[in-house]
Symmetry: C2
Subunit: 227 residues, 2 copies
C-alpha cells in the first residue's frame, strides 16, 4: 500500500516526538555535568544556572506530553506505534525527574561552596559521567528502538552502584575520622545518591525500551510475553 497523506503526517509526528525527546535528553545531560562541575569547580554561578534551566526542562515535558496526547487522539496508533507513544509518555517523566535531581545537586553544591572543600571529590565526577552516559545510552536506545543498546544500560548499572558504594564508604570514613567533616560529608553522600538515582532513571528507561521493542517485560524478574 502506498503511503497515504495520513501516513506521512504520522511519520512527521513521530519524527517530531523523537527530536523533542532527544533535545530534552541533551538538556538534562548538560544539567548533570553542570551541577557536578558547580561542585568540583566551586562555581555557584553555574549552580544557579542549573536551577534556572530546570524551567526549560519542565516546558519540554509539557510539550512532549501534549504531543503524545495529540498523536493518540488524531492518529489512533495501534500495535508497535501505540507502544512507542505510551513509552514516550513514561520516559518524559523520567527525564524531568533527572532534571530535578540535577537541581538538587546544584543546590547542595551551593551550600558546600560556602565552606572549605572537604577533600578532592575524585570519584564524584566519575559517577556523574557514568550516570550521564547511562541516560544518553538509554535515550538513544529508545529513539533507535535498539534493545541491545538498552541491555547495555542494564549491565552498566552495576558499575554505577559499585562506584556509589565506594564513595559512600569513603565519606563514612571521613566522618568517623573527624566530626567536623560530618555535615559536608553528609551533603556529598546525598549528591552521590542523587547521581545513583539518575542512573536508576536511565535503567527504568532502558527496561521500558526493551519492553517496547521485544514485547517482553524485563522490568520485573518474571518476564512475560505480550499477549
Amino acid at each position: 500500500m502506498a503511503a497515504t497523506h495520513t501516513d506521512k503526517a504520522f511519520e512527521q509526528d513521530l519524527r517530531n516526538l523523537r527530536e523533542k525527546l532527544l533535545a530534552m535528553g541533551a538538556k538534562v545531560e548538560t544539567l548533570i555535568s553542570q551541577s557536578t562541575r558547580a561542585l568540583t569547580d566551586r562555581d555557584s554561578a553555574l549552580a544557579e544556572q542549573v536551577v534556572g534551566a530546570d524551567r526549560e526542562v519542565n516546558r519540554l515535558e509539557v510539550d512532549i506530553d501534549d504531543l503524545c496526547r495529540r498523536i493518540l487522539a488524531l492518529r489512533q496508533p495501534a500495535a508497535s506505534d501505540l507502544r512507542l507513544i505510551t513509552t514516550a509518555l513514561k520516559i518524559v517523566t523520567d527525564l524531568e525527574r533527572i532534571g530535578d535531581l540535577a537541581v538538587n545537586i546544584a543546590e547542595r553544591a551551593m551550600d558546600l561552596n560556602q565552606a572549605p572543600p572537604l577533600a578532592p571529590y575524585v570519584d564524584t565526577p566519575k559517577l556523574a559521567e557514568l550516570a550521564q552516559q547511562q541516560v544518553k545510552k538509554a535515550l538513544d536506545a529508545f529513539v533507535s528502538g535498539d534493545a541491545a543498546k538498552a541491555e547495555d544500560v542494564l549491565k552498566g548499572d552495576d558499575l554505577l552502584d559499585a562506584l556509589f558504594l565506594k564513595i559512600f564508604n569513603e565519606l563514612l570514613a571521613y566522618m568517623m575520622e573527624d566530626s567536623r567533616n560530618i555535615r559536608r560529608a553528609t551533603a556529598l553522600m546525598f549528591i552521590a545518591k542523587h547521581l545513583e538515582r539518575i542512573g536508576d532513571h536511565a535503567l527504568n528507561v532502558a527496561e521500558m525500551v526493551i519492553y517496547m521493542v521485544r514485547g517482553k517485560d524485563v522490568r520485573h524478574p518474571r518476564s512475560r510475553d505480550l499477549e
Copy 2:
C-alpha cells in the same frame, strides 16, 4: 443519545482501571507502613515480607499498563477520557517506584536490626504515616477526579519536608555526639530520605491529577491552559 454497547464496555474498562489502581495503591500503602514497622519493631521477618511483596506490585504495574494500552487501542478515547488513561499510565509508574522505596527501607531496616538500636525512632513513624496519607489522598483524588483533594496533597508536602529536615538535623547531632552513631544514623537518614521521596511521588501524582481535571499544568511554576 442512549448508551451503546461500546459505551458500556468502555465504562466497564474505566471501572476496572480505577479498581486496579486503588488495589495497587492499597498494596504500596501497606508496604510503606510495614517497612517502617520492620524498623521500629526490629522485625526483620516483616522486612523480608516487604521485599517479597514487591513482586505483586510489579505484577500490578504490568497489568495496569497493559489495560491502559488495550483501552487506547480498542476504545480510542478522546478529550478527558484520553487524559484519564494517559495520566493512569504515568501514575502507575509512581506507584511502582513507591513500592521500590518501601523495599529500600525494608532492606536498610534489616541491616539496622543487626546492631543495637540507635535511639527511639520517634519521628520516623510519623514521617511514614504522613507519606502514606499523601499517597492515599493523591490516588483518591485521581480516582474521584477531585482537584481540590489533589491540592491538599500539594499543601501537605511542606509538612513532610519540614519533618524530614527535623529528623535529618537530629541525626546529624547524634553523629557529631559520638562517632559510633555515624553508621546507623546515616542509614536512618537514608530511610527518612526514602520516605520524603515517597511524598514527592504523591506530590507528582497530585499535580498530574490537577492537570487532568482542570487542564491546567501546576507541575511547573508557569501554569498554562490547555489549547
